[in-house]
Every structure is written in C-alpha cells, then in structure tokens.
C-alpha cells in the first residue's frame, strides 16, 4: 500500500515534467504546479506512513535502469528528508505561480523545476549505489539549469553557474568514488549489502570512503572550504529555486554524510567525527561572519545557510563522537538536535529566501544599502521576513530557539567523557555555537533593520508595493511552520527520534519525552515551548497596555514638542542620515579584519583652488571570500597557466600536427624494437 505512494509520486512528477515541456505558456505554470503538488502529496503521505509505523518501504524494479535496476528503500531517516523537501517544494511552487510573471516561466525552467523536485523527493529513498548516483546527478544537472534560469546572459549568473557546475561535479566525483569503492569491496551494490560487509572492510578503505564522502557531501551542504559555489549560486538563482536549494538540496548533503558515516559504515573512530565537527565549526563561524558583513540580501542568506549547515555538522560530529565513545543516548540526542535544526532551517531559510525574492520582485534590487522602509510598503512580506529573522536568530518562542537549545543541551551535557579529543572538541563546539548565535543575530538585525525599517534609500524602494497573493501565501506557509515548530516541537520529535534510531541503532526512540515539557533522556534540561510562548505573549500584551496607558496620559499634557525618533531633536531627516548595512557591519568588520579582508577604495576629488578642500569623497568597500581568493583562485590560475603552455603545441601548422603523429609512431617503434 505505502509502496504505491512512491510510484504515484514518480508518475505525477513525470507528468509535471512533460507538462512543463509541452504545454503553452498560459496553462504551463498551473499544470506543473498541480502535478508537482500531487507528486509531493504522494511522497509526503508515504513518508508519514513510514515515520508512523517505523517500517521501511521497499520498491524494486529491474526494468527501469538497464544493468543495475532500481532499488528503493525508504526508512524513517530518509522519510524525514522527503517530508522536508515536499513541504518546501509545495511552498515554493505556490510562490512560483506569482513569480512566473517575473521570470522562470520558460519551457526549460518549467520542465526542470519539477524534475529537480522529483529527484530530491526520491533521492532519500534510494536503496542502491546506482539508483542513488543517478538521482544525485539528475538533481545536480536540473539545479544547474535552474540556477542559470532565464538570467543566463548576465555575467554574474554565468560565473555563478560555472562555479556551481565545477563544485557540484567535483563533489559528485568524490561521492561516486566513495560509493563505488564500498560496493566493489562488498560484493553488491545495494546499501543493505554494503551495510553487511562494512565491518569486514580494511580500515584504510573505510577511512578513504568516509573522507571522500565528507568532501562530496560536504560540498553539497556548503561546508567550508567547499562552500565557494553557495554564496554565488544561491543569490543568482531565481528566488523559488534559491528556497529549494537552501531549504531542500543542501540538506541532502547532510543526509549523505549520515548515510555513509552512520548508516553504511556503522559509525567509525572518533577522528572521523572530529573532522566533521571541525568542518562544522569552520563553516558556522565563516558563514555567520560573512552573513554579518554582507550587504546583498540574498548573499547574506546564502552565507547564513553555510553557517546553519555548519551547526548541523557540529551536531552530527558530536553525535558521532558520543556514539564512538559509547554514550549512545547522548549521541541520539545530538542527532535529533541536528535533524531538528535541518527541519527548522528548511522552514525559516525557505521563507526568508522567498521573502527576499518578493523584495527583489517589488524593488528590483537586492542591495540592502538601496532598500529601507519596506515594512510600511510591504507589510505582509515584512512581517513574514521578521518571523524568519527571529527564528534564525534563535529567539523564543520560534523554532530556531528549540533546536539551538537542544544542540546546546546535548553538547554541554556530553562533556564528561573518557576521551581527551572529545573533551577538547566539544567545548570548542559550544564556543563556536555561541559566537555564531551572536553573529547571526547581528546579521538579521541588520537585514531587518536596514532593509525593512527606516526610510527608503532609493527610488526603487520608495516605489515598492506588495507582491501577488500566491507569493505571500507560499512564503507565509513556511513562516507558519516556523511558529508551529517553535510552539509545539512535539509534532516532529517522535519522528526525528525514530530517524535517529535508524542512524544510531541500539537506543530507544523516545529520548525526548513529554507533550508539554520537553524532557531529554539522561540530561537535566527541561523546556516548555508552549508555556514559554504563552508567557512571552502575555509579557508583550502587558508592555503594550502599559505603553498605551502612559501614552494617553502624556497626550493630556499640553507642552509637548514632537520630533522624529533618533533625530537628535531635529525636524528634517533624510534617508542618507540613516545607518547603512555597511556602516552597521563596520565594527564587526574591523574586529575580524584578518578573516574578512575587505577591499577599501577611497576616491577623493579636490576642489580646483585648494588641496585642503574636498569636492567629493567616495568610499567603496567590497568583501571577497578569503577562501575563494587564497585557495581556489591560485589553483585556477595554475590550471590556466598550464593550459596556456599547452597552447604552444598548437600553432596551426599542418606539418607540425603531422610531425607529432610521426614522431610518436617512430618513438613507439624504436621502443618496441
């Protein structure tokens, strides 16, 4: 019965692809959206059944893929990722209905979008190496087409596409090597066969496979230093695609690491997970720092994705280390925290990217220094962005707080262990988590404050107006999910518990109990999200009521001089007197000057008569990615140089080309003689 849902999902998804490719423009979008919803609904139903019963769904066919056949096994771990993808996909396709008037409505885009969604829906259900790799490649190629979108004439978009294409294929090559290595030495290409033989493999082989998988999946998840494609591709992609990339696709990198590390190889030595945790700490700090200093709204969100995936990797690393040192209950808690963060990140980052897209549609700009005053012009989008920003900044009662609390709990209470490495790594993780939290808060105060509050800084922002209803609803859907997951995380925790049990077998699924209070097994912490939310609402009501009361009384006093807030008592204020995104981030930029390496460019125009008077000073600051500049650019330059050297071989002379062949032939003959 439940097997049928995967078949229906695949069929409906294929119908959507055909509809996108064949139908005329007017009906295309609706047909694709409706059949994609059918596909998502079927996959969602199947996954919920799997999560509820805990029994995996198995589907096998030797007809579809030649030579290897298709093996699908959807267990609770995969089902969690299917559910996330389905929800984000439903919201972003709803958003796409309104967005299609502004782009992304070509045949290519309309056919690639459902194919991309379908490949992400089926990927966590892949049960064999061949099936997994085919779906992975399908996901990579369709997402590349969508990143290029209909903006592919722009130089920035093309460069982003190129970076993405190279990084995703280097990653895919690493994954291919890892999985093929494992399946070649296990005598079977199904994951079940690999799992059985994994313990008899040599340690060198296991280490190689795991490290290759971390590189491959890490590049998909945007882990530093494999993240360089992420802050380029996510901002340049059309916004519904950015939401899918950031809300659904990067998660599959996390899934891959859990799949290979925990599921196929059954956990490993402590140092494996130290590597994962180190990657996580680096990504969290680097991502958060760049998010705090970025002035491009979507670039900020993209770096914040790298930061959140870093936090998830910290959780995964901690979980692996606890499991390797025998603390399986704590390990499960850390795993649940990591998975909960994945779920929450999909909700808030999806809604943030979609609202950033709405801002872009309404104003045509992404640069925060040209925005401002959007809260009054786009109240609904502004409110949704605010919910997302509060969630990602981990403020109660929203969902980001719950996952961050859980992650802190599992790390803090995991401290007393036998291993020195763990005892050093875990506090570092906690410190990174705390610093990241602060930086993220700064980044989103900046995004909301500069982008939505104050006065508009450009004519585009002044002329902004609210976006179509479907776009608001699509974005709002995910914002509602943020609130729901924050107030009642209990609706997903049992499912996540079951998923963690798949990853780390031998523990009970109910490490997190309670329906009102959140108890963590083996730890002392208790959280009551609903009560917390209620008390916060109560506090807010009290503050508003008191303010009203005081306000009314002050209205009665006659000698009142009114001035604009923050105006130093002056009447006249211009938009140029406000804080900009750059000036807000300036102190942070100063502190982290060595890491951020900003390029400052000051142009001074003097008055003709005197060198002591300036006519105009313009200051430009741009922040590059230090890893891109110091690691990737030299490598690219080296390859270019090599290519240029090789060009000397080719000078256009027919005789030269013939001589190459002749000399090679003679040399071979001389050697064999």
């Amino acid at each position: 019965m439940s097997n049928l849902s995967l078949v229906i999902a695949a069929t409906a998804g294929s119908v959507a692809v055909i509809a996108g490719a064949a139908l005329p423009r007017r009906t295309r979008v609706w047909a694709v959206v409706l059949s994609t919803w059918a596909s998502c609904a079927a996959a969602l139903t199947g996954s919920l059944i799997v999560l509820h019963t805990g029994r995996p769904m198995v589907l096998s066919s030797s007809q579809i893929l030649p030579l290897t056949g298709v093996h699908m096994v959807l267990d609770p771990l995969g089902a969690v990722f299917v559910v996330i993808t389905a929800v984000v996909a439903i919201a972003s396709t709803l958003y796409w209905i309104g967005y299609a008037g502004h782009g992304l409505s070509t045949r290519t885009a309309a056919a690639s979008l459902p194919l991309f969604i379908l490949s992400m829906l089926l990927l966590p259900a892949a049960g064999s190496v061949a099936t997994f790799l085919v779906l992975w490649e399908l996901m990579a190629v369709t997402s590349l087409i969508l990143v290029l979108g209909d903006q592919h004439e722009r130089a920035e978009t093309r460069s982003a596409g190129q970076w993405y294409a190279v990084m995703t294929h280097v990653g895919a090559a690493a994954i291919l090597l890892a999985l093929v290595l494992l399946s070649a030495h296990s005598g079977g290409q199904t994951f079940a066969a690999i799992r059985v033989h994994a313990h008899h493999l040599s340690p060198a082989l296991r280490n190689t496979a795991f490290l290759l998988a971390v590189i491959g999946f890490g590049s998909k998840a945007g882990a530093v230093p494999f993240h360089v494609w992420l802050p380029k591709a996510h901002p340049e992609a059309p916004s519904p695609v950015s939401a899918l990339l950031s809300g659904a696709m990067v998660n599959l990198g996390i899934y891959g690491i859990v799949l290979v590390g925990d599921r196929l190889l059954g956990g490993g030595p402590v140092w494996w997970w130290l590597v994962v945790m180190a990657l996580g700490i680096a990504s969290a700090l680097f991502g958060a720092l760049h998010a705090a200093t970025s002035t491009d709204l979507k670039r900020l969100l993209a770096y914040s994705t790298a930061d959140n995936m870093g936090l998830v990797l910290i959780g995964l690393g901690a979980s692996g280390m606890f499991a390797a040192t025998g603390h399986r209950t704590t390990a499960t808690v850390a795993m649940v925290a990591a998975l909960l963060l994945v779920v929450n990140h999909a909700a808030f980052k999806g809604s943030l990217f979609l609202s950033a897209g709405s801002v872009q549609v309404a104003t045509g700009v992404r640069d925060l220094d040209q925005l401002g005053g959007l809260m009054t012009r786009m109240p609904i989008t502004g409110a949704i962005f605010l919910v997302g920003a509060l969630s990602i900044a981990a403020l109660p009662p929203l969902n980001g707080f719950v996952s961050e609390w859980l992650l802190f709990q599992s790390l803090l209470h995991g401290l007393p262990t036998s291993s020195t490495a763990v005892a050093i790594a875990v506090p570092l993780g906690v410190a990174a988590l705390a610093l990241t939290g602060g930086l993220t808060l700064a980044a989103f105060v900046k995004a909301t404050g500069v982008g939505f509050l104050g006065r508009p800084r450009s004519p585009e922002a002044t002329a902004a107006h609210e976006v179509p209803r479907t776009m608001q609803i699509g974005t709002g859907l995910l914002a509602v999910a943020c609130v729901a997951l924050g107030v009642a995380p209990f609706i997903v925790l049992p499912a996540l518990g079951r998923a963690s049990q798949i990853a780390i077998p031998g523990t009970s699924a109910s490490v997190l109990r309670g329906s009102k209070y959140l108890h963590v097994a083996g730890l002392q912490g208790v959280l009551a999200p609903a009560l917390l939310a209620a008390s916060l609402v109560l506090a807010a009501v009290v503050v508003v009521a008191v303010r009203r009361l005081v306000h009314r009384r002050s209205m009665l006093t006659p000698s009142l001089r009114r001035a604009e807030p923050w105006g130093s008592g002056r009447e006249l204020q211009t938009a140029r007197m406000q804080y900009t995104a750059t000036s807000f981030a300036e102190p942070l930029q100063r502190v982290f000057d060595d890491v951020v390496h900003p390029d400052r460019d000051v142009d001074v125009d003097h008055v003709v008569e005197s060198r002591y008077y300036f006519e105009r000073i313009s200051v430009r600051t741009s922040i590059g990615d230090i890893i891109e500049n110091k690691l990737y650019r030299p490598a690219i330059r080296a390859v270019r140089w090599w290519g240029r050297q090789a060009r000397h071989l080719q000078n256009g002379s027919v005789h030269r080309y013939l001589a190459y062949g002749f000399v090679a032939l003679v040399l071979v003959l001389v050697v064999i003689t």
Binding site: Q650, N651, G652, S653, V654, H655, L658, A659, G661, F662, L665, V666, L669, V670, I672, T673
Partner: protein, 219 residues
C-alpha cells in the same frame, strides 16, 4: 612458376614499391613524383598478382587487377590533372631538404626492419621476409607528409602510407578478403577525390597549393 623465379619476382616487385617511395622523396618535380607513384601502384599490383598466381588464388588475382587499375592508373591520372592545373609544379622548399630526407628515409628503412622483425619471425616464407619493405614504405610516406609543403605531395604521402599497408597485408596474410580490399580501395579513391576538389579550391582561393599559407586558419 618455379620456386626461385617466384621468389625473385616477388622480391623485385616488392623492392620496387620501396624504391618508388624513395624516388618520391628524391624528386622535387611533381609530375615526376606522380609518375613514381603510378609505377609504385603497378609494382604493388604485380606483387599481388604474383602471389595470386603462386597460390592459385583466383580472388587474390582479381584483387591484384583491381589494385593495378585503381593505384596504377586511376589515382595517378586524377593527381596528374591537379598537377597540370598548378603552374608551379615543383616542391620548391620542403621543410627538410632532399639529401637529408634521403638519409632519414634510409634510417626509417632500418627502423622498419627492426620493428618488423617479430612479424618476419612469425611468417617463415619468402613473402614474410619482405614484410619490412611495406613497413618502410609506410614510414617514408608518413615522413613525406610531414616535410612536404604542396597539397599534392601530401596526397602522395597518404597514398604511400596506404600502399605500404596494402603491401604488408598482401605479404603477411596472403591475400585480404576481396570485400575489405574493395572497401579500402574505394576509401582511398574517395579521399583522393575529396582532396582533389579541396586542392583546386585552395588553389583558386589563395592562388597557391602551399599548405603553409593556411596557418592563419587555426582557432
């Protein structure tokens, strides 16, 4: 035909194939080169004919007649027409001068004997002994393609390579199936036809048949 007459006839014709190849390296005048090629085609056909008669193989005799017609008559005639259409029908400045080319041809013949040694050991017959001649013809043909500048010389070089391969095939396998020989001959004929058209186009477009002037076409 008795054994010793067969052996010396086969040696004569096969040797003539190589000598013609060397002659094409020696002469600069293109009509002379085409004549040498024509003689080489006849010698190749004759070698095949002798083999066919000796082995009482009717198919091989048919192939020999075909080779005589195509390589001894048809292709040289086609080339002759291109040469007639070119006012300066001399290989004026080859990349490597003639004496050096002849020395290198000698070295290539030595190399051919060295490289063909395993093949010779495999076929302990009179024909097998002569296989290196085919190898040498092939190498000299390739070499002439590298050092000659005229389009016609390039075609001649290609035909030398083909003749060398054909000679090795006749000597080493005692006859190629008719179908394959037909296919190969047709291929070469077609290549020559295409190159002829190309050469005349190059001639009318650039006023010369020198391939060196085509360097600017790269990229």
């Amino acid at each position: 035909m008795n054994g010793s007459a067969y052996a010396s006839l086969l040696e004569l014709t096969s040797g003539l194939v190589l000598v013609c190849a060397v002659v094409t390296m020696w002469r600069r005048s293109l009509p002379a080169v085409v004549k040498a090629l024509s003689l080489q085609g006849v010698a190749l056909g004759a070698a095949a004919l002798i083999l066919g008669v000796h082995q009482h193989d009717v198919v091989l005799i048919a192939v020999a007649c075909l080779v005589l017609a195509a390589k001894g008559l048809l292709i040289p005639t086609l080339l002759g027409r291109i040469v007639a259409g070119d006012p300066s029908s001399r290989e004026a400045t080859p990349v490597v001068n003639v004496p050096a080319s002849l020395v290198i041809s000698a070295a290539l013949t030595f190399l051919a004997y060295g490289a063909a040694e395993p093949v010779v050991r495999l076929i302990p017959t009179t024909a097998g002994r002569l296989v290196p001649l085919g190898f040498a013809t092939l190498l000299i043909g390739f070499f002439s393609m590298v050092v000659r500048r005229k389009a016609v010389s390039q075609i001649v070089g290609l035909l030398l390579v083909d003749n060398g391969i054909a000679l090795v095939a006749f000597l080493a396998t005692a006859g190629v199936p008719l179908l394959i020989e037909l296919g190969a001959s047709l291929d070469v004929l077609l290549a020559v036809g295409v190159l002829r058209v190309l050469a005349s186009r190059i001639g009318s477009k650039f006023g010369a048949f020198d391939l060196d002037q085509l360097r600017e076409l790269h990229d």
